[in-house]
Symmetry: C2
Subunit: 376 residues, 2 copies
């Protein structure tokens, strides 16, 4: 098949059939009887290559199964065609059931561009600095996906300082903060979900609605609380600071905050939770007071964790498409690295309501509920 024993292009014919089996650009060039520079430029879309030779090169590359080594390209171009995901492992709820889906989405999107995904985990903020710096200095990735961005996120600070492309999963404070005004992000509108939850509960007949927020360290936390208060505003309900709780990071803290709300003189007949984990914790607080979830106290969560469909009563929640999040984030990041302006690479999607059995019309008024709790 390959019969070109005669050297047509000086110094670029490889006679031996290359150990390792890989087809290199030199093999391709000698097979085509052209210089490797032509091959390279043909494959990279340079304009000084005629359409006919480009086609020929592409067809032969295809036929021979030529696949350039991204790290060989990287040494000249500086691009390794990889994005990195930085997971912070110091969180209380490190059991993230969505991670696999998220990764699947990110990998698939990256793969569509011919890119790959590398991960790195950090146990502490200071460890983060080391890990990220190493990744950057060794050029292991061209850009970073930062899930669960915090209000003051050390990852963001470092990457900004080094001028490395990144994308956040989660906005900072409506994008108003100056330092972030040219950053790109993808987010799910938790505030819309929270607002809709209030509207839904009010239309079910609830008048006193509590809110249990999450860790204020995270960006999403502020947005969701704001969404909740906007929901109150939209339904002309009077905001009551007593009904606003914050900082429920875990299931147990969800239980604790719910207890506090139910011990009020005027307890809420419905509670909206910034996270499913906190909402699941509420079940314990509610049932141990002899109350029924969905009757005496309505509960609405957010996230769509798998467990939400198995608890009894099943949890009404706003489902987040995590797989899509990973996919969009990866896609936007690659586009940013390829040169599109970061501040135009932003996307906001909605969470989807999953109606189940943890909410309904209030069985009692707030006053009646208070009495029932007192008797306990």
């Amino acid at each position: 098949m390959n019969t070109n024993r005669i050297t047509l292009v000086k110094g670029q014919v490889s006679s031996s059939p290359k150990i390792g089996g890989r087809v290199t650009i030199n093999d391709l060039a000698s097979h085509l009887c052209m210089s490797k520079s032509t091959v390279s430029r043909a494959l990279n879309g340079y304009s000084d290559i005629s359409e006919s030779t480009r086609k020929r090169v592409e067809r032969t590359a295809q036929k021979l199964g030529y696949r350039p080594l991204s790290h060989a390209q990287a040494i000249r171009t500086g691009r390794v065609r990889a994005i990195a995901l930085v997971l912070q492992n110091d969180e209380p709820d490190k059991h993230n059931p969505f991670l696999q889906e998220f990764l699947a989405g990110a990998c698939e999107a990256a793969s569509d561009f011919g890119w790959t995904v590398t991960i790195s985990t950090t146990k502490s903020d200071q460890d983060m600095d080391t890990v990220l710096t190493r990744l950057i200095e060794e050029r292991k990735a061209d850009g970073f996906i930062l899930p669960r961005t915090k209000v003051t996120d050390p990852r963001v600070r470092l990457l900004r300082r080094l001028g490395v492309p990144y994308i956040m999963f989660g906005r900072t404070d409506h994008g108003q903060k100056k330092i972030e005004k040219d950053a790109s992000w993808f987010d799910i509108s938790g505030e819309t979900a929270m607002q809709n939850a209030v509207v839904r509960l009010v239309s079910l007949g609830h008048q006193r609605i509590g809110y249990v927020g999450s860790d204020p360290e995270f960006n999403y936390s502020h947005l969701r609380r704001e969404g909740f208060t906007q929901g109150l505003h939209a339904t002309k309900l009077q905001p009551d600071p007593d009904l606003l709780r914050e900082g429920a990071r875990t299931r147990d803290e969800g239980t604790t905050e719910t207890r506090v709300l139910l011990q009020l003189d005027q307890p809420p007949t419905a509670i909206v939770y910034a996270t499913d984990m906190a909402a699941l914790g509420a079940y314990k607080a509610i049932t141990e007071l002899g109350l029924t979830v969905g009757k005496d106290v309505s509960v609405i969560g957010y996230d769509g964790v798998p467990e939400s469909q198995y608890v009894r009563p099943a949890l009404t929640t706003y489902d987040v498409d995590t797989r899509m999040a990973g996919e969009r984030l990866a896609s936007l990041l690659v586009r940013q690295i390829r040169g599109e302006p970061a501040d135009q690479l932003r996307e906001l999607q909605e969470a989807q309501l999953v109606e189940r059995d943890s909410d309904g019309p209030p069985a009692l008024s707030s006053t009646e509920l208070a009495e029932k709790i007192q008797k306990q």
Copy 2:
């Protein structure tokens, strides 16, 4: 500081302060007034470099913050100093709460060697082929970690064929299968846990013990069932095929299989589950028959999923240290790639019993239990 305006080593003095800020091996060489080949060999431990110059090179490299680009090295060495993790995303239970910990362990171990971790997910077996092949052809990784190995695992087949290093999380059938006899693996001895579970239940007074296994497609499934039957053997209990169920992959299937066991003429007073998910499904089957978990029917799970501590009664289970698994797997794989023989890189660890409230002495005999169930 850098005052060597005179070229001491021909052609290797970089006058301009390098855009991008990176310190290259050339910078280092000119700073040290030696050739870059000497620098390279000094840093890579060649024996023909004197100890004094090696020290000098290392100190200066440290001082200047020199860090070789792994992909620049890779083009010559063929090693990119990265391992890949191949996640199969076509599983029914893709909500793996342990993934983050697993990744953390793997990343940390890799990082200790100066390596990184890249991930790739596959939606189907045939997609797997494409994804893996691309990763290998582009040399994105030097080796692969394969979690959740199946009895006939397409990933294993492909990697073996291509001669690419890999390590399995999970043995194949006691390592007796010929094709795997030189593969390396890390595993948790699920069979020991199953056996101990039986012993524990017998010593609590149980005489009829059921077993609900997992997907026989996976390697661990067979081992765990074998462990269960060995437990019966060790306690001189008569094995009863009716008490052996298989194929509970999800919570719902756990419910179904439990129902079948409890409908037997001689139902078990205790059931051992190959996975926590199936065991959690059992709660529904047991309670809907008017029975109490931990009294009428004892339940023991395996995995240590977070939810196991939140259900009521809390689930007695065998906890798997997933983080350590990731760590060991990565470490063993890197050692294999570095040249240690694969068949000597195997490790078996034990799961740890977490005693909670889902098991106890039997409240009723099997016959009494059957009557109680009939009345329902």
